[in-house]
Symmetry: C2
Subunit: 365 residues, 2 copies
């Protein structure tokens, strides 16, 4: 078989590249996908009870990148939606990330912005050389808030203490001295009006795009003549694990459908200190679907399973670096996305990276 | 690329063969499908309003074939469902097919079975040589019921009068001298509990099965080494239309979502004499879905479009016969299903045909 372009992986990275090649270059593309569906980790579907859920965990689109927003808007209308998260602490749900609202509710106060500034300033721990995630929180919010909101959550999430994690892991500011209780503050926020899978279908709705599902690319790649391979799968698998298997943090997803209109007070709730799950997502609150029942997702972080989060320690950055170095020698192959670059990508960032890679490929045509 | 088995088409015929090859022979199968989804004409999905609809028109499963029922029951639970149809005549909905209930409602009578026998007997037209569909109805139910229920419906459906159609076209008995108002009387009747697409997904949920979507098999078949090709696409296309294009009757599907709990008194209604559509299906009444809105489908038969119904006249049987003759010379290829055999198949019949073909292939292994 002969295709000028072969893409491994039908997630957002692969679909974006495929769409551009098909529409702009007007060339044939073969996408090879291991799973039985397209859309990668943003895949959503209607479950047994007819509720739209996200199989691989919650995704809420947000970006300040107008280019990416406009690009995706070709393939979906949006449900204007601004994500809200509450953290369950000391037996109450309080807004998260920590804002004036959070402090006032937690301590039953009614502080003004100026009073709040002082309240936090007095608690901040002075740290000269901020290196770890623990340092980030302590120096911005103090030990009490660190322990209530971050310490145990991080241990559940990563299996290690924030003191062992690089400062970039807890990147969102741990305290906002205002009353904005949104989880993200990006200009563009929303959910694809009919879901992510529908958006993904629209992205590859072009006769130039052929899609192979349920297929390991290694089973067939040697039988395909191609000019360029865009690889969005795990980089270690591409190189037959020659430097060993990269470590990922995974999540065991436990979906539950309850015979209730509403399950919880926010679309997403965090459980830093209670239970073994880190958070509960209630999908109807993301999608706006009206249904007499509701499906929730409890997330239990674990080591084995789908590779969700590249492990954020130095050790694994080094191994990934070796693979990346090796990848540079692949003349016909380009590595793109969370698994191929071994880095966490938000949706908007990976689409932008794909658009950039396309511009690069196009300029050398 | 090399596959012992290649299957063209991911409808019920192709999926059944693929499943058997993968599970029983434990061999690799490649399914090549032109559409962007599996499941062929039984494909269902949740529409913009979150209502489960059948994209290519209503399908209600019914069979007396326990083997087929048991086979499919491996891949789905069933919603026990017995199909009901009403015909809109003279401004009223009456049960269809015509039963004692229909006659009593239509003529505002309360006839017993014996009285009904006489009522119908007196109306039957004596025809020595029953050849056409018109003959079938006239000789079984008389001219008035023919004109009310069948004549115009058939003209809408096929574009020709029942007098021009073979007697096999109106095959369901036009009158039942009992009070059974079900549309089918088969022992096993139901809908796949989570829809047909879910059942189709389960059928091909085996690592031996690779699926290529959005792909015309002719674009790649010369690059694949295979032992057997099972072809479920249009037979005339396979042979490059060497005897011309076969004629099909198609349907323009008009979906409408109404802000009503219920739209009509039965899952399916027929309009023999009113409007240009032949029938209206209300999907919630098939699936049992609970939703504050309801989606209906109006079917407008037409000539151009998806090839739904092989044209039931002698002329096209002759052309199809030529293609079938030619197909017999294809040593590596087997022709299966509605499009490849140019014959109407109910779902149970095509699954049975696929199981039989598999037995045949398996016996020669």
């Amino acid at each position: 078989m002969k295709y000028p372009f072969v893409i491994v992986g039908a997630g957002l990275a692969g679909l974006t590249i495929a769409e551009r090649i098909a529409n702009v270059l007007n060339q044939k593309v073969l996408i090879i996908e291991k799973r039985p569906h397209i859309a990668g980790n943003v895949y959503d579907f209607y479950n047994d009870d007819g509720i739209l859920i996200q199989k691989y965990g919650p995704h809420t689109f947000h970006t300040n990148n107008k280019k990416v927003y406009d690009y995706l808007s070709q393939f979906t209308k949006w449900r204007d939606y601004q994500h809200r998260v509450m953290s369950y602490v000391n037996g109450h749900y309080v807004p998260f990330p920590i804002s004036i609202e959070t402090i006032n509710q937690l301590y039953n106060k009614n502080l003004t912005s100026e009073e709040m500034f002082e309240f936090i300033e007095n608690r901040k721990v002075s740290i000269d050389d901020v290196r770890t995630s623990e340092d980030v929180v302590l120096s911005n919010a103090g030990i009490e808030l660190y322990e209530i909101f971050f310490k145990n959550f991080t241990i559940k999430q990563w299996g290690v203490s924030p003191a062992e994690l690089d400062k970039t892991v807890i990147s969102r500011i741990p305290f906002r001295n205002n009353r904005d209780t949104r989880y993200f503050t990006d200009i563009y926020q929303g959910q694809p009006l009919y879901g992510y899978t529908r958006m993904a279908e629209a992205m590859c709705d072009h006769p130039n795009i052929n899609i192979m599902l349920k297929t390991d690319y290694k089973d067939i790649i040697n039988h395909i003549e191609y000019d360029n391979l865009i690889y969005t799968g795990p980089i270690d698998y591409f190189f037959d694990f020659c430097y060993g298997e990269l470590r990922y943090r995974s999540v065991r997803m436990q979906f539950e459908t309850h015979d209730l209109e509403s399950y919880q007070p926010a679309p997403s709730t965090r459980y830093p200190n209670d239970y073994d799950y880190t958070r509960i997502t209630e999908f109807k609150k993301l999608t706006g679907q009206v249904h007499s029942k509701t499906t929730i997702l409890k997330e239990f972080p674990c080591d084995e399973g789908e590779p969700y989060y590249p492990f954020p320690t130095e050790e694994w950055k080094v191994v990934a670096g070796k693979y990346r170095k090796k990848a540079e020698n692949e003349e016909k192959s380009f590595f793109l996305g969370r698994l191929a670059e071994y880095r966490y990508y938000d949706m908007d960032d990976v689409v932008e990276a794909a658009l950039n890679l396309f511009s690069f490929l196009y300029s050398i045509k």
